[in-house]
């Protein structure tokens, strides 16, 4: 019995070994090496083009099969068709802009991801087969590939930044730190199959400034940081994030705040100003909105970063929703769930626009400046400019607004007694 198993055993081992080697070599050659040097084979763009064709085909199949199911090629009517118009009509009556912004856009065309088609039911076998194959490819092939890359990217980031941290401060260290950061972020980009188009790169943020961008998902950081070097700002976390943060700060100065320090606005402002004043330090990357908006609008920018009084480099990021929705509804999904969603989507396609730098003008206060920057970003990215505070999603009411309400309430109390006497 054993003598039978032996040759199979070693055969299997050999096959496994060979396939792993081939796998990793391919990975290295096609993904990691280009990431290191910042070149691209154009594989991802080719992939994107084929995906678009695939979506068009599936949409055609969808509409054809829906018509066929109804039994004729004529415009078919169903009693329930009126609901669509009715609903649209009522939506325009209610026209609650804020609600529209907070839930992910429902897509008109179906991009073969069940999440975005709420009414998925068996339409045609061919379409289901296509969807099934899509699931297999996404979860069986793309997901493991991406997870491997993600681990590689993060691992390299931690290891290499720690090594660079051993160097003495100086030009060599800065140069190496830049290279290391860029390389690792590029690997992470490939881990998400993110296909990014950068526009107007001549406006890229320079040292001594603050880079301000609209925020749709945690991926925004990776997207921007793979094209330029920034100093990150954030709260100190524990666990894996903490390890990454501590390693990164060894190579170049990032700004990490302790939880207690975050509440102290003056401390935050001081640290940011100090960083900005030092010309040798990298531009700070800040997302003033403070929470993830679903990429159709730009909510109220918090004024803190605009009070510092240095040049602001606005950046607009817009995701293409056809390929995968990058929006993170943090009150609904946790981080791991979100990353899983991201890594099992087809791709993440987005555009980044670097806008020309802006500074606070004479007689303008921080809030007006913030609004001006926000409007510029919204205009560029084709996003709707809204006045609402992004904090609405979690329902917090700031102290200032609370005080204002109390003032109005007391006014009304005096006023309402008059109304009551009248009625």
């Amino acid at each position: 019995m054993e003598s039978y198993l032996f040759p199979f055993d070693s055969l299997i081992c050999m096959l496994l070994g060979i396939s792993f080697t081939v796998w990793f070599t391919l990975l290295l050659v096609f993904i990691i090496v280009p990431a290191i040097f910042g070149v691209s084979f154009g594989i991802r763009r080719l992939y994107m083009k084929s995906l678009i064709k695939l979506f068009e085909v599936s949409e055609l199949m969808l509409s054809v099969s829906v018509i066929l199911q109804r039994g004729s090629a004529e415009p078919e009517f169903d009693m329930s068709d009126i609901f669509y118009f009715c609903r649209r009509g009522v939506e325009s009556i209610v026209d609650d802009e804020v609600t529209k912004r907070f839930t992910a856009e429902e897509l008109e065309s179906w991009n073969l991801l069940t999440r975005s088609n709420y009414n998925f039911h068996h339409i045609s076998t061919r379409l289901t087969a296509l969807w099934g194959m899509g699931v297999l490819i996404r979860y069986g092939f793309l997901l493991p590939l991406r997870v491997t890359l993600a681990f590689t990217g993060v691992g390299l980031l931690v290891v290499l930044t720690s090594i660079v941290g051993l160097f003495p401060n100086g030009r060599m260290k800065n140069y190496l730190s830049d290279k290391v950061h860029l390389m690792c972020y590029r690997i992470c980009i490939r881990a998400l199959t993110a296909i990014i188009t950068y526009h107007d790169s001549e406006n890229k943020p320079k040292n001594g400034g603050i880079c301000v961008a609209n925020h749709t998902s945690p991926i925004d950081v990776i997207i921007l940081a793979s094209d330029g070097c920034y100093a990150m700002v954030g709260q100190v976390h524990g666990g894996l994030m903490g390890v990454i943060q501590r390693a990164m700060v060894k190579a170049c100065p990032h700004i990490w705040f302790e939880r207690s320090e975050v509440k102290d606005r003056h401390l935050v402002a001081k640290r940011l100003s100090d960083h900005v004043a030092d010309e040798s330090k990298l531009p700070i990357l800040i997302f003033p909105e403070g929470t993830c908006i679903n990429n159709t609008s730009v909510m109220m920018f918090k004024k803190g970063s605009f009070e510092i009084g240095c040049t602001v480099y606005p950046v607009a990021i817009k995701y293409d929703p056809r390929f995968g929705d990058a929006f993170w509804n943090s009150s609904k999904f946790g981080m791991v769930n979100y990353l899983l969603h991201m890594m099992s989507s087809w791709a993440i396609v987005c555009s980044v626009w670097y806008l020309p730098p802006m500074s606070r003008m004479e007689g303008e206060d921080a809030v007006q400046f913030a609004n001006r920057v926000k409007a510029a970003i919204a205009r560029k990215g084709g996003l709707a400019d809204l006045l609402w505070d992004g904090g609405l999603k979690r329902g917090k009411v700031k102290e200032v607004f609370k005080e204002e309400q109390q003032k109005l309430y007391s006014k009304v109390l005096v006023g309402s007694s008059e109304d009551r006497s009248r009625s």
């Binding site: 415009p75 078919e76 669509y84 609903r87 329902g395």
Partner: protein
Amino acid sequence: MGSTSSTLLKIPNVEVLMQETGFSPAHIIRLHDRFKALDKEGRGHLCPQDFGAIKELAMNPIGDRIIGAFFSPGKETVDFHTFVKILAHFRPVDKDRPKEPNSPEPINSRSNKLKFAFQLYDQDKDGKISRDELLKVLRSMLGMQVTEEQLESIADRTIQEADLDRDEAISFEEFRKSLEKVNIDHKMSIRFLR
């Protein structure tokens, strides 16, 4: 942002309104803001022209029917309460609401949603959708894309499929039956802010 408690105080009988419709205070305030925004002349009620000023509604093929749904026969104005009650039809169905035996059916129940849709078809309010009424709706929704014969054949086919008692018209029960497989909650609900 909005002055929450003071706005709520200004609305008469707001508690009853919230009870009947199931909207939360935040919803009511949003709808009140919207009501005020539509009521451009500040009269405290809306007339058909106020609705007509909404661009997307004017472009909607059945826009005027939807507007008509807000004004009960004989009334020329809509006050805030009626506004909210009609919009309550579009609240998503409360899946967790316990079924109390004596409480009235909520405004956003499946049945009431269907009734709302039914009245969009049944303009003369005789409880039946006649062939003529169906043709009118079809003409509104399909516009000039379709010839008169195609329109008539569609109408005839629809009546044939749905009309169970063979009276050449679709009653509410037949309407309901023809839509039993349709996910009304999804199609006739809109997302109101939490």
